[in-house]
Amino acid sequence: MLLEGFSTALQPVYLLYALGGVFVGTAVGVLPGIGPAMTVALLMPITYALDPAAALIVFAGIYYGGMYGGSTTSILLNTPGESSSIVTALEGNKMAKAGRGAAALATAAIGSFVAGTIATVLLSFLAPVVAELAVGLGPVDYVALMVVAFLTVGALLGASVLRGLASLALGLFIGMIGIDDSTAQQRFTFDNPTLVDGIDMVLVAVGLFALGEALYVASKLRHGPVEVIPVSKGKNAWLSKEDWKRSWKPWLRGTFIGFPIGTVPAGGADVSTFLSYAAERKLAKGSNKAQFGKGAIEGVAGPEAANNAAAAGVLVPLLTLGIPTTATAAMMLTAFQRYQIQPGPLLFENQGALVWTLIASLYVGNLMLLVLNLPLVGLWVKILQIPRPYLYAGILVFAALGAFSVNFAAVDVGILLVVGILGYFMRRYGYPVAPMVVAMILGPMFEVQLRRSLQLSQNDPVALFSSPFAVIVYVSMALIFVGSWWLRRRQASLEAAPVKEELSV
């Protein structure tokens, strides 16, 4: 099956699409302030006119490209910001300042490639197995899985539990606007024809991520020239033998930390990069250990690998269960649904050819990422230097283009603006936006499954705990919460540590 996928993905036209996807994905991902979810959301219009296979291939490229682009930003820009690559920034930024920027980028790129490839192999073997098991899951089990996804995304991953839950609830609310899936009744539409069809996911995502971010940055824009750390050229700048020796183990460890964390609904990339960083810091010995906080290559290699492996891992629940566990996965799901591709246990049976093409193009995209990235560092630096007024003006134009092309209705751009203003205030007051996006797409599915399970049990809520699988899921959720409480305390002490070191110098 995978071979068939490759035979499609390796056609010259599709190779070009993959190349284009990786290139555009990285270029947009490199832009400061643009995370992977926003990259996928912003680039959705470019695939509207493509056939499903080509669109999936482009998305595979954008997905990996966007992930990698973020790490380039945090290594080279003086002011790191994105959460999923913030751990990379910890050491990578220091390396760049010490004139080892090229080495940091190289270990990130090769680590991403190694991890991405291994993780995609794991995905190719694991996904069909999980899909087969998932066919046997009933509505009760889905309810359990989605409760876990909601709570981890909403309550675990932000600084404030209540604000995460507020964002989650608002996403659930927006998801209800329109026609009820089970009874075809209108809900919260107030007989407004625009609302009857529901609010399109693309509008909310682009509004929250792109417009909200642009408005937020604009309100406190750092004026003056952009400081990019120069990347030194020459032989010494490249990975030395010593660097290779110090990198390969963190790559592998990062892979095996990242992939499992990506596959369970426990937060994807952020958690895995932090765990990998903590592990490398602990395992480093002697002089290498002393380098942590001052530019240790292990601290770039491990988290970058973990990040990419988690990105592939996230595709397991997405493809086999139809459950997105990160905002980026929610965007991928939206993209799939535009092509009438419904991820879930039956996907591998009903649309096997397409899925395997997608998986094959993940391999191809990964390789292209490696080939493209190292020679093009100079270009990424140029992109980073785009004057900020033009950059954010451009983001606004692209966001407006994306919103308009959903239905070719100007009123959609109006909805985009409202959501964008909401996104601005959410950022200003510390509300995470990712739970809202995930809730909006998962909410309607959750309601259908919940009502189905209660209907089957004549409205007896105890039935929600009747299947052994669901019970296992709830118990592991409790364990995850205890574990995360412990992790959070570790993270707090870790974040305090580098500051102390700087003060003592």
Partner: protein, 173 residues
């Protein structure tokens, strides 16, 4: 990373108002949910149950945040690469940006997408103090035409070219 600076005595009025937005959406939702029609054939919990749950959650969580803010636990504003965390909020720039998006919305149909996009870009660049302005205007025109050509012409996304470019074949899919 987030070094704990002693937070300036910011009046949390805005934050409380924003939390109250969640509460009021929840209250409005609870009121509106009562009038969702239930088909007679319904045997399960029906189309109203989930709205009631979600809207109650909005009310409770929103009220919880208000309480937290009153007790001094304010939210941590998000960090970003291009953000000057010490700067004061530039409400004027925000108002201008929102204004230009509104203008863009009303220009798409009558003037065509490229014109609307060029106005949005140069307006936004001007709001963010791009200098010199003529450069921003030139970039906006070029960008709008390129996007119209790529999306309208090549990718077949039907962006209205507007009266100015109506007759130019390669701007239409």
């Amino acid at each position: 990373m987030s070094v704990q600076v002693s937070t300036p005595a910011r009046r949390p009025t805005g934050e409380i108002l924003f939390a109250l937005v969640f509460v009021s959406v929840g209250v409005a939702g609870l009121l509106a949910a009562g009038s969702i029609p239930i088909p007679p054939s319904e045997t399960g919990i029906g189309p109203r149950a989930f709205p009631y749950i979600v809207c109650s959650m909005l009310v409770i969580v929103g009220a919880g945040i208000v309480a937290q803010v009153f007790r001094g636990k304010v939210g941590q504003a998000e960090e970003s690469e291009d953000l000057d965390a010490t700067a004061k909020t530039d409400w004027m720039a925000l108002a201008k940006l929102v204004g230009f998006v509104v203008l863009h919305i009303f220009l798409i149909e009558p003037a065509g997408w490229p014109v609307a996009a060029a106005v949005l870009f140069s307006g936004a660049a001007w709001s963010l103090e791009a200098k010199p302005l003529w450069k921003a205007v030139i970039i906006s025109v070029v960008l709008a035409l390129v996007l119209q050509y790529v999306f309208g012409g090549l990718l077949g996304v039907s962006l209205p070219p507007g009266p100015l470019l109506e007759g130019v074949p390669f701007f239409n899919g």
